[in-house]
């Protein structure tokens, strides 16, 4: 047992962190919110160069995956830097197409996803909206045991997080039907859940770092507000949330990578393990957002500082791909 990221995995995270740190991702997120996708697609291309999308695609389709653990490392950084776009959905779509079998669709799309040339939406069964369908090259829509492919969509509807653009998918052509669709969708949902959880961890870490910096520098009553115990304890709790969520996310990735075998002592099934990670990370990201807002005072309640990008993302991430209730129920099915 060695439940620590390898040096290479950590190095990969650091590389993404510095690449994204230098890329003005908040500006790309703001442009994305306004329906201007170019800077976001630019980021997408640079991420593809580092191999992020290839991690989801098997070697025989031009990728180097599937590697859930490396994907998780990447998605923590994507969350930390509020990179916009249907990143989770594109990667989950790749997993879905691969699982579905080596049909024409997999042959068409997987190499393009790996290369960063395709932005693909994935709309899960029961989910009324597709994320960023206006920016996607195609959207896969799962309804029961059927999957359709469409580019048609209703209008983008205003949302809590303006960088997550929601629209109803319309019509489409049937790609496949039957139990294989259900099975592939289940797997894709687990992966989407896991990567959403990883993003939430990154969002939580970014919010914590910014808030710690702020409370050390903002003074009231003649001293830094970070010296007040009520402030300290709130941040201590926020840190605890993130610190205990991240190992669950890593264990979820290990479980998905090795779905057949057990995940080790006390291990849950992969689906339950991922659901546990989603609950913990979603709540941790959201708690960090609430702490960040509270401790920034009114400064946090304006959309001018970039902080607002993270604050508004935390709640939708908590609720996307199976909210806390659904995931808690999943944990108990074992």
């Amino acid at each position: 047992m060695r439940f620590l990221l390898t040096d290479e995995q950590r190095e990969f995270g650091r590389t993404l962190d510095s690449l994204l740190g230098a890329a003005d991702t908040p500006a790309a997120a703001r442009a994305w919110a306004a329906g201007e996708h170019k800077p976001g697609r630019g980021l997408w291309a640079r991420l593809a160069e580092t191999g992020v999308f290839a991690l989801a695609v098997p070697e025989e389709r031009g990728g180097m995956g599937p590697l859930p653990l490396e994907l998780v490392v990447a998605f923590v950084e994507l969350g930390r830097h509020v990179v916009p776009g249907p990143l989770v959905e594109t990667v989950a779509a790749a997993a879905f197409l691969h699982r579905l079998g080596d049909g024409a669709a997999a042959g068409d799309w997987l190499p393009r996803i790996a290369a960063g040339d395709a932005v693909v939406g994935l709309c899960a069964d029961g989910e009324p909206f597709a994320l960023d369908a206006d920016a996607a090259d195609t959207v896969l829509v799962v309804r029961g045991d059927t999957v359709c492919r469409t580019q048609a969509r209703g209008p983008v509807q205003p949302g809590l997080d303006p960088t997550r653009r929601l629209a109803r998918p319309l019509g489409g052509t049937v790609l496949a039907r039957g139990p294989a669709v259900t099975e592939a969708a289940r797997h894709a949902t687990d992966l989407a859940r896991l990567l959403t959880a990883a993003q939430a961890v990154g969002v939580g870490r970014a919010l914590l770092a910014r808030t710690v910096e702020y409370v050390c520098q903002r003074t009231q009553f003649g001293r830094p507000i970070g010296s007040f115990q009520a402030v300290k304890h709130r941040l201590a709790d926020a840190l605890m949330g993130v610190e205990f969520a991240e190992p669950l996310v890593h264990a979820g990735a290990l479980a998905l990578a090795n779905e057949a075998a057990s995940a080790g002592a006390g291990g849950l099934s992969a689906g339950a393990e991922v659901a546990a990670a989603k609950v913990a990370a979603g709540e941790a990201g959201y708690a960090a957002a609430r702490a960040a807002l509270q401790l920034h005072g009114a400064v946090g309640y304006t959309d001018e500082p970039d902080l607002s990008l993270w604050i508004r993302k935390a709640r939708p991430l908590r609720d996307a791909w199976g909210g806390p209730g659904a995931c808690r129920a999943r944990v108990l099915t074992g």
């Binding site: 047992m1 300290k232 969520a245 190992p247 290990l254 002592a265 129920a329 108990l332």
Partner: protein, 390 residues
């Protein structure tokens, strides 16, 4: 990164499981917080020691198995999953022994560890005093130099199970004029049965007579029972405190086993439409798993040559709140039966939820209150400024 047990670890786990299956008492022992239970648990410690299961992580020459941290974790998981008795020797094994391994002399290790491993000598922790709780450095009890040793004088309090224990370890002020309260303290081991020591039991919240206050009136301690250098007691004590909060006091097996019992209780008894209760059961399961995995991370760090510092405060706050949540949820599932003590005629099956609940209420208090731990997390892990102090 992996969660796979090595062959050696898997074999160790299997051996522990088999031994426990053959030896764990079929009916639970009486509470170790009572005189009768204390004696029964002492006998259980001896049984564990006879087959070298009482201190698996210690070197073989002290009765251990040289088990790695991961093997110790596996043992603890098996121990709690098997429903084995609580460890009456835990203060000695978890708090004093690590201190002796770090700061003790070879002679102290040779004298103290053997009887500790067999339950022959059971140790109490005598740190707190009436005026020195969270502010431990405010302690007033003194150690005064005498021929060949020290005379202890003063009052200690809330010492767990000191009412029945044999010996105690604690901090005493040996240089009254020291410039700062953390200086001039000495860490010593002393007998509880000395005529100069008066042990007065204090009932706990559940009335069990397991706490005690100690009145010391020139209790003699020979030089060889000073741990570390005289005057350096604070530093010695803080290395013990890290163990108390961190992974060795509360191994995850305790909580994963409780979460499993809680899930079983929920399956048997819960109204399936009560999703609020279901969510709390799920949160307890998630919390236990998170604590287990977080511990694996820490153990992996230590195995790779790293150390734990203020991170142990994260453990402390997390396990104490998890333990409360587990037990509160169980009581809610039990409904009217949740109000019964464990030895009541109609007490619920599946373990001692009532005693566990009462004990979990103390978790946020002992081993450093959670308020103090949150200060440590904020100041040492997040780097926030220290609070203004008087």
């Amino acid at each position: 990164m992996d969660l796979d047990a090595s062959d050696a670890d898997a074999a160790f786990r299997a051996e522990a499981r088999a031994w426990l299956a053959a030896h764990v008492p079929a009916t639970p022992l009486p509470s170790l917080e009572t005189r009768e239970g204390f004696a029964a648990h002492r006998a259980w410690e001896a049984q564990l020691a006879a087959d070298r299961w009482s201190v698996v992580s210690w070197p073989a020459r002290y009765g251990g198995r040289d088990a790695t941290l991961f093997q110790w974790l596996a043992f603890e998981e098996e121990y709690y999953a098997a429903g084995a008795p609580g460890r009456v020797s835990q203060n000695g094994i978890n708090l004093l022994a690590p201190t002796l391994f770090e700061h003790g002399t070879p002679d102290q290790r040779a004298r103290v560890l053997g009887p500790m491993a067999t339950g022959e000598a059971i140790w109490a922790q005598a740190w707190s005093e009436p005026e020195a709780g969270s502010d431990l450095a405010a302690l007033r009890s003194t150690a005064v130099r005498t021929d060949g040793g020290w005379l202890l004088r003063g009052q200690k309090t809330w010492s767990s199970r000191a009412a029945f224990a044999d010996r105690a370890f604690g901090l005493f002020r040996s240089e009254p004029g020291a410039p700062r309260p953390h200086q001039g303290l000495t860490y010593l081991m002393f007998p509880l049965d000395a005529p100069e020591a008066t042990v007065r039991p204090i009932g706990r919240l559940d009335g069990k007579p397991a706490f005690a206050e100690l009145f010391l009136d020139d209790v003699f301690v020979p030089d060889e029972d000073v741990i570390g250098e005289p005057g350096q007691g604070w530093r010695v004590a803080m290395s013990t405190a890290g163990n108390e909060r961190g992974l060795t006091l509360r191994s995850p097996g305790r909580f994963t086993a409780a979460a499993d019992r809680l899930t079983a209780l929920w399956r048997e008894s819960a109204d399936p439409t009560d999703t609020a209760l279901r969510d709390r059961v799920a949160d307890a399961v998630i919390g236990a798993r998170a604590y287990q995995l977080f511990t694996y991370v820490n153990a992996s760090r230590i195995a790779a040559g790293g150390t734990l510092g203020a991170e142990s405060s994260l453990n402390k706050v997390f396990w104490s709140e998890l333990d409360l949540a587990l037990h509160e949820t169980a009581l809610d599932l039990l409904g009217p039966y949740g109000a019964l003590a464990d030895d009541a005629d109609d007490a619920p099956a599946h373990g001692s939820w009532a005693e566990g609940y009462t004990f979990s209420l103390a978790g946020p208090l002992y081993a450093g209150t959670n308020e103090i731990q949150r200060n440590i997390i904020a100041e040492r892990l997040l780097g926030l400024p220290k609070e203004a102090r008087a």
